[in-house]
């Protein structure tokens, strides 16, 4: 039986902060209801209340007209609400069947697990919903898209009638996103309602039946999927947003960085970067497109001196820098925005002020002999906070308590505060809200216009298209082709999936 879910006046306060302010929503049986909003708009808080992880401060939840109270996720599951979290809740070393039966183990005799029964159960389930997974495969051996299907199966195995998908596409390749959308459509056919949470405009328009936009804890409006991206973005951000970066044609100069035959072997002995050669010129943006895990990370680390290339030469202004370590690379004038900012980009426990000088503390600007110049460090922070519009309570606030977009702005501000020859930006706007994306993109283009060679690595095609003057596509450790940004989306998707330009029949997805 399909279920109708109503939310009435649901409010959640954290101290004086209202995360959700009288939210009203109705999820009709068998619809895909998109919840669109920026990071921090309150989408996750709302879903956590729906799934029994948070207690509402006010308001009620009605299932088929009956008010319900959830004290824990098991209460929510009992009335047929299932949730697939953005970060998977799977045991990597268990098989698919074991993961699905986790918590409701199938037994042959009391206390004896029955893997056959579990496999059979999972098999039936995947047949019923058309979700292809091998019940006996180890979860850790599966690609991310398949792991997500396991999560969905897990929710469905609890007889979920309303499925909450929290930012499900953030971790997927373009092909996997298409597959997920097919799955969502077929689940809808079978009567399951879906709440699809995202901040990506393209996706809601592709799959949604109705779109509710949340901004700063309130539902600011509902739109049909026919609304334009610009309309949705404006609702989401609260002002007009430029989705396209304004940029003049590049004034391309000399070759600044040249890479020849770069090969990197990872500690397990796999060649992850295979004989890569390219050049980056002053005043242009070279985009490196590719699905996550095709050698981009290692290539960038080699450029920065964080790993030693096993073969090949990297030249900066003609000088061989392939043996340089990270400090020398930074001193050479390479700016770096790492793909995982909390891991490599900033120190969460350090203040904004300290993070803004993380690679500049030794310079004469910020130190005198062994002593730090605290006044100059503070003045620098005040200046950068204004210049880069970093929304922070104060310069001494730890960076870990900033929003993702502002954390990234700290990293960007730091890297832009010294003269650069090359800027390497890896996933510069991952997990960053639309407003900050716009800002960061603008700064990257203005850096290009100053004559810096910019290399952007991104798995988001939108970002690649918005910024790049040339696009190199990486697949399986190689650059398979370098194309102009006028290329069609589908064609670049094929290149990313491994089709070489000459032999398109080799496509394997």
């Amino acid at each position: 039986m399909p279920v109708k879910l109503e939310i009435k006046g649901l409010t959640k306060k954290f101290g004086s902060f209202t995360a959700n302010d009288h939210i009203d929503l109705t999820i009709e049986p068998g619809e895909i209801h998109c919840l669109l909003g920026e990071n921090g708009a309150g989408k996750s808080t709302l879903m956590n209340m729906l799934y029994g992880l948070l207690d509402p401060t006010e308001g009620e939840i009605l299932v088929d007209g009956e008010p319900v109270t959830f004290h824990s996720p098991s209460d929510a599951i009992a009335v047929g609400i299932g949730m697939v979290h953005q970060h998977f809740m799977l045991v990597p070393v268990f098989t698919v069947a074991e993961n699905v039966m986790l918590g409701r183990e199938q037994t042959s005799a009391p206390g004896v697990l029955s893997r056959t029964k579990a496999s059979e159960f999972v098999h039936q389930l995947s047949e019923r919903y058309g979700l292809q997974v091998d019940p006996s495969a180890l979860v850790e051996s599966l690609p991310v898209g398949a792991q997500q299907r396991v999560e969905i199966l897990k929710a469905l195995s609890n007889e979920a009638k309303v499925l909450i998908l929290d930012e499900p596409t953030a971790v997927l390749t373009p092909q996997e996103i298409d597959e997920l959308m097919d799955i969502m459509r077929s689940l809808k056919e079978l009567g399951t309602s879906i709440i699809f949470i995202t901040h990506k405009l393209r996706e809601v328009r592709a799959v949604g039946d109705r779109i509710s936009v949340i901004r700063r804890g309130k539902v600011v409006g509902t739109a049909p999927p026919t609304a334009t991206e610009a309309e949705l973005a404006e609702m989401m951000v609260g002002r007009e947003v430029k989705l396209k970066v304004d940029k003049a044609p590049p004034k391309t100069g000399e070759v600044v960085l040249s890479v020849e035959g770069c090969t990197v072997v990872d500690p397990r002995g796999h060649q992850v970067v295979k004989d890569v050669s390219f050049e980056a010129r002053a005043g242009e943006v070279l985009g490196i497109a590719g699905v996550q895990g095709n050698g981009q990370t290692e290539l960038i680390k080699a450029l920065l001196g964080l790993v030693r290339p096993d073969a090949g030469v990297i030249r900066l202004d003609g000088e061989d820098i392939s043996r340089h370590g990270p400090r020398e690379s930074l001193d050479d004038g390479i700016g770096y925005i790492p793909e995982d900012r909390s891991h490599d980009g900033y120190i969460g426990a350090f203040s904004v002020r300290e993070n803004l000088i993380l690679d500049l503390y030794r310079t004469d600007r910020f130190s005198r002999g062994p002593a730090l110049r605290l006044d100059d460090i503070a003045a620098n922070a005040d200046h950068r906070i204004v210049e880069f519009d970093i929304r922070t309570e104060s310069a001494s606030t730890p960076v870990s308590s900033l929003s993702g977009g502002n954390q990234q702005k700290v990293v960007v501000a730091r890297e832009f505060s010294r003269p650069l020859k090359v800027l390497v930006a890896s996933q510069p706007t991952r997990g960053v809200d639309v407003g900050s994306i716009e800002f960061i993109h603008k700064r990257i283009i203005s850096e290009r216009d100053k004559g810096t060679a910019v290399i952007i690595v991104s798995t988001e095609l939108d970002e690649i298209f918005a910024l790049s003057d040339r696009i190199a596509v990486m697949y399986d450790g190689r650059i398979v082709d370098t194309v102009s940004p006028d290329i069609r989306r589908e064609d670049i998707g094929l290149l990313m999936a491994g089709a070489t330009p000459d032999k398109p029949e080799e496509v394997t997805v």
Binding site: G40, G217, G325, Y346, G348, L372, L374, T397, S403
Partner: protein, 405 residues
Amino acid sequence: MTLQAPVPTPGAEPESVERAAKAELRHPASWLPTVKVTAGAFLTALVIGAVVIALSDDDVIESLKYFGTYPWDSFTRSWDAIWSSYSALVKGAVGSSNAIASTLDRSAPLICAGLGVTLAFRAGLFNIGAQGQLIIGALCAGYVGFTWNLPPFVHLVVALVAGLASGALWGAIPGFLKARTGAHEVITTIMFNYLAASVLIYALSHDTFQRPGSDNALSPKVDDSAAFPRLSIGGFDAHLGVLIALLAGAAAWWLLERSTWGFELRAVGANAHASRTAGMSVAKVYTLAMLLAGMLAGLAATMQVLGNQNSLSATLPGSIGFDAITVALLGRASPLGTVLAGLLFGAMSVGGVAMQAGAGTPKELTDVLQALIVLFVAAPALVKGMLRIKESGGGATVMAKGWGS
């Protein structure tokens, strides 16, 4: 970001909003909850200690036999026992200038070795090896102190340098191993403690370290020319090392908070990956941090050898190197906190003896108190729950990295 900002800010993620709100609460005085929790831990330990005192007092136990008839007796006798013990403890520790001098004297090595552990903590290393570093420092400072013949001031300086340098070397080896091979510092420093203890025993059995005319494993006394000068003002009499220990605290603070090198050390301790990406050498920081930690433990050793005891024996190091870990934990890996914790431990140790003499309560009670205080400080949630301290913050316990790193 101001939380109620009127501008349409792209807000923080819910959890980080919560954290920001907490940071805001904490803003006026970020140390206040820490002080509250520590004071709470202290208080709780004293209360439990009081129960222990009462239950170890003969009069109280006697009165319990007729508790049913005269319960009041038990209470008054308990109160007498608790009051006399605690007042003897306080008087013994800080009741006279002589007592204060003894307390400072006892605290000095704890402070120095504790600072070593604190510095290593801040670099993300758990230095269990203060004991070994201290033993080697004592051995070398002592050797120079009683074998070499040098003019008064020079002799002291050379002995001091010998203690610092040998401690530093003993500390730097595990640091270097960690930096180069990834060998976990907890394991290597523990092993280096065993090595150092054995080296000391062996040395004491050797003629070079044997006091002439003695059958005990005891070295000659350090020459007066190598001993710390004494500071005597009225009844106050302590060696110069006490002053050096406090100066070491100030130096450690400056190094951590005000110097480029301290910035590197804290950065590596908080996030080694980001530090490396920012061009820092993690290996160098690990090695130098352990070198410095060893040097401070060596300084602690000179307090013992050139200040207090003046001759080497198997019991000289006591458990200072291990107490130093407790001191650093109680001081939350901050130099000021470590100095205060060192003073507290020194005071309890001196006061304990007075308590045993004056009130008949076993001095081991102070060990119980120390253990309880640290236990409650390490479990702030427990204290907050018991004392209903609502404020957030102050909950961060010192953490070194786990096995994986």
